[in-house]
Assembly symmetry: C2
Homo-oligomer: 246 residues x 2
């Protein structure tokens, strides 16, 4: 493949996680209970992970909360507060050890564990996600892709034949699937999510344009693309009207 | 095309906005200044818009903040507070008029205006976005798609030939492009964003895995897919460890 914009999957997704190194430290050494940690803090963790990965790639060994603050445009106090939720990650006076911090946050994010994943919906977006992610290298094991459109059955997407929805229940159980990626219309998404819950899925990465009602035991992360685009148009309009950023 | 998961674009994206009806009310009747409105409120607007669209489709004419609260799982007080940012949208004692509220929120989101849009990066995700969105019907006018990979030049995506990046600057100016969708690797994204700023773009919908530093006058909305996936794995791991949802 030529070096076009479409190809460099890893760079695009940025899940540059070195699992070999991680396995040397088992995640049991995470001492802090996570129960009081807000979703706001959790939302910031992947961003810390991303910036620390970049510092690591640049060969930087230590970073202070002030330096992190400068590059990430959040306050140093916010960074320290966030890290304190997980025990603080070492003495701030000396700065944080970049690689250690990167690995610890990776473990907190569950990236040292394997997650078996299927995609439901073999349309453009499902195919794009299947092709973008270098799942296997990141702990995300791509195990299958499903659709309800017979004309897609057997079509190969990243060396996986598209399977009919009728096979979903058995497949999820037999392959111990953790995560389902929903790239289907909202009308189908609710019923499919209910089935996935019955079949024992742990998490749903939901691209369908609907909020799913699932039991507390099932984790859902929504990517509502049109919501994001509307927020952009709102900010464009507002800037034009007010002449400044909100 | 068969009625598979991949096809029903509009349902998937949910941008079901009836522009004809909107044009009857010009957006100049929005009386409230938006300068004090937080991004948290703005983030909730598309979700209100989505639920109101569903109520409208079901033929429901009025809805109280309590009823909205029940279906949206946010407090009625939150809803009233959010709406008060924009003047309140009518007397809450009688409930809100669904269609009026839907249209007003649509206008606030800028959906009554045309937005000329290009996609930069004709890889899987760029193609998926080009194909998913029924741009023209929603006020988003898809004007072109660009890449730096010569083997893609001229390839037709939704009846648009992929253009080389060398044509970008002139194209943005000549076609008065408002929004650029960045579906390129992070290494290219920073330079491309800088060029887009020089060329006069108003907003960037950024799928590249990097935070862009642009002037205040340029609006950026990020879709960091891997951040979202990591948040999901965090919540799965945490639930397994703590036995409950955070």
């Amino acid at each position: 493949m030529e070096p076009g914009f479409g190809e460099p999957i890893d760079i695009f997704f940025g899940l540059r996680y070195d699992k070999k190194r991680l396995y040397m430290k088992l995640s049991e050494d995470r001492k802090v209970e996570s129960k009081e940690i807000s979703q706001a803090v959790i939302s910031r963790l992947p961003r810390y992970f991303r910036y620390l990965g970049e510092l690591k790639d640049e060969g930087i060994e230590r970073v202070s909360s002030q330096e992190l603050s400068d590059i990430m445009k959040v306050t140093a106090s916010q960074i320290r507060q966030d890290f304190n939720n997980f025990g603080g990650f070492g003495q701030q006076g000396y700065g944080y050890k970049v690689e250690y911090l990167y690995e610890e946050i990776g473990k907190i994010l569950g990236l040292d564990k394997e997650h078996r994943l299927i995609i439901i919906g073999a349309g453009n977006l499902g195919q794009a996600l299947a092709n973008y992610m270098n799942f296997e290298r990141r702990g995300f094991i791509f195990r299958g892709i499903f659709d309800n459109n017979p004309s897609l059955y057997g079509k190969r997407i990243r060396d996986m034949a598209v399977r009919p929805m009728e096979e979903l229940a058995d497949f999820v159980k037999e392959n111990n699937i953790d995560i389902a990626v929903l790239t289907i219309p909202k009308n189908s998404a609710v019923a499919v999510a209910e089935q996935l819950v019955r079949d024992g899925i742990k998490g749903i990465w939901n691209f369908a344009h609907v909020d799913l009602n699932v039991p507390e035991s099932i984790q859902v992360e929504n990517v509502h693309l049109s919501d994001s685009l509307m927020k952009l148009t709102y900010n464009i309009i507002s800037y034009e009207q007010d002449g400044r950023k909100l």
